[in-house]
Symmetry: none
Subunit: 220 residues, 4 copies
DNA sequence: TATGAATGAGCTTTCATTCAT
DNA sequence: TATGAATGAAAGCTCATTCAT
């Protein structure tokens, strides 16, 4: 029983989701499911209404258009959750003094893995659509530059002065770290969630590889 | 002058592309362009026909349906090129005796980077659509298991006996290597092709990180 | 003034026709008119919508496909009306004790003639399409075998014992009777409705010919 | 073994069918088959070409349009065969002196039955399309009035003077005779060709019924 | 005689959206 | 809040027909 089930999403994203009219709630849930499964463009409002068990017209009473429905699903994830909310957790990690680089990376990896597991449907949806709406990609990037980059840069420089990371440009180090983390998260949660993953072992292997890899070259 | 232009694609993928009727050629090119830019579902056959400068009906004379057109674009990449064709080059790499793991990984990385640069439009298309057509993902996986895995496994075991890779399951090692390679290729070619990349430096940093990371733990 | 006008149809066939949404009613009427006039395959949904004064899309909201529209027109005639409904009238005829074969045949002929006059458009449609959709022909035949044949057989045997019908297989007698009846109804209503028919005289001639024809051979 | 197979058609209708170019022959055969099976409007030229094994363009080299192809199939049946040709056989029957009405009717019935068996596909086609092209119906009627009616009328009057047919309008007598003949031919050949017909018995029953039925009323 | 690429109009169907109730 | 009839544009696709070879 290696894989605990991946959790739901909307209830924890919309602060007042429980208070919404039932029709609206069912529409949001159905749309999330269908968008994530078949893509935005290939999902018709008729299919959403049928799957939600409501009349098609109701969708347009609550959301002015189909696109608006998509954005109301994606926006909380991108703007409010991806950053201000989950940021709180990441910033908490970043604010701590970590005795060793491994402590920082492990905290980061576990936090992101948990986050992605919880919101995997929404993430599938966002990842699918982000290719087609470059402005989303750019806003994501801007948010990152202003909100997260400074803290991360501080931390990395700290570990560089401690000789836990060898001399390299900040962007390169960041790319190497993100590759390693994403290289675990994406196949684990989004591509092959049904494999019998030895999750703890993969986490440890990933961390050790990253730490050894970033370390200064061994002096012979 | 950091970024040489990314090359074309179809001419080199379809062995007899030049011999196809001109209408079919233009349809394939236009569809590739539009699918990659706006996604399969959001691209109408009318738009393809207009962009190709042919009558819409001609699309359905050559390809029985819009879906069939997508598959005829993706299949060569996935089945004939991803593996049997580019495999020739990878297998050549694998067949060699590499004095050090770094030689193998460097050859691999450079080969894949060149390949992706050449076929970047098709790859965008395939990556976008693979989420929505799980049969593509599965066929990709099967091809890999039967065609590539054995050779790679042999090579990795060889370097494990040489103590260049520490003790770990094959799947884990593979995942770590692919993460690092993809972590360079994907942002470089598909996400941010217009950045001023220091490509050579990134290649070297990636390789060194990977080699150090996979090496056995240093004995204190 | 030999020919009274032939009556309408749908209102009396669909029990709740009046309660259907107006759009659906108008589509059914227009489709019946056009299918009967030009044939199913040669009638476009665009023409139906235009003639009904509704948007073309509405056809597919109410009937899932053009074929479904045809079947919803033909089915009530074939299954509910041809048999269970008009059957009530035929079974009433069959249930009576008729002093002479002529009384039975005359009642049958007048009933069927009236029925066909009322539903002549639908019948044209069904006769046209029945050649092309053999499942309709078969379902008609099955209904007949189970619902009508037994009663008819009883009646005919009764008149055979009374020496009003000579010795012959049941199927043969039935065929001869139906030929004679249809030989009046079809040209009168469907082929040449505009001729100056002497209807009453034709009815009497048909009946007498049939009765004489079925009688036992005169003994010299 | 009640049902001998129903024979082919085109070879015996087109005097020079064997001399036509092979492409044209195969197109005619395939079109006859498909038109008879699915109807004219529901059969595409693409389907005809495929079934004939020729290029679609060839159809339009030999026949200027799809409609022209239909007419070239139907016209020989209607104009050259229905009348000048099979008429020769009917006129031969009519020209003879028949000792008894039964001899005339039997000759007629057997001749028509054989004719319909041979050309059943073409007849299905003509019957299907005649509803939709009223000019065909009318031309058929005109041909009948001018070419056949006089001879038939002469014969019937002859048998009326001989007291084998009772006093009735010519049109009525004709209708009764045709009903009886068609009431055997249509179900036997066109509707239920696969039933286990006792053909000879049905022919005799039909003839006797008709003769008795047309005879003057028995004097009590 | 025969091919098959190419056309453009028209087909059935789907879609997001509106509106009276 | 919720329904469902109705809309009109556009979708994917089929069709008969033309034309260069």
């Amino acid at each position: 029983m290696p894989n605990p089930p991946l959790g739901p999403s909307l209830e924890s994203l919309y602060p007042n989701f429980e208070n919404l009219p039932p029709g609206q709630r069912r529409i949001l849930s159905a749309a999330l499911e269908l968008f994530a499964e078949k893509g935005y463009a290939a999902t018709s409002t008729g299919a959403i209404a049928k799957s939600a068990g409501v009349a098609e017209g109701l969708i347009f009473k609550h959301f002015r258009s189909k696109k608006e429905l998509l954005l109301q699903l994606a926006r909380p994830l991108l703007l409010e959750v991806f950053f201000p909310l989950s940021l709180r957790r990441i910033q908490a990690i970043m604010a701590q003094k970590h005795p060793h680089l491994k402590n920082l990376l492990e905290a980061l990896l576990r936090e992101r893995l948990a986050f992605v597991k919880q919101h995997h449907r929404l993430l599938r949806l966002v990842i699918q659509e982000i290719w087609l709406h470059p402005e989303l990609l750019q806003s994501l990037q801007e948010q990152f530059e202003t909100q997260l980059r400074p803290d991360i840069e501080t931390q990395l420089k700290h570990f560089q002065t401690q000789a836990q990371i060898r001399e390299m440009p900040f962007g390169t180090a960041l790319r190497l770290i993100l590759s390693a983390l994403m290289g675990l998260i994406i196949p684990r949660v989004l591509l092959f969630p049904d494999w019998p993953w030895q999750e703890e072992a993969e986490i440890q292997a990933t961390l050790q590889t990253l730490i050894q890899g970033l370390a200064p070259e061994a002096q012979p």
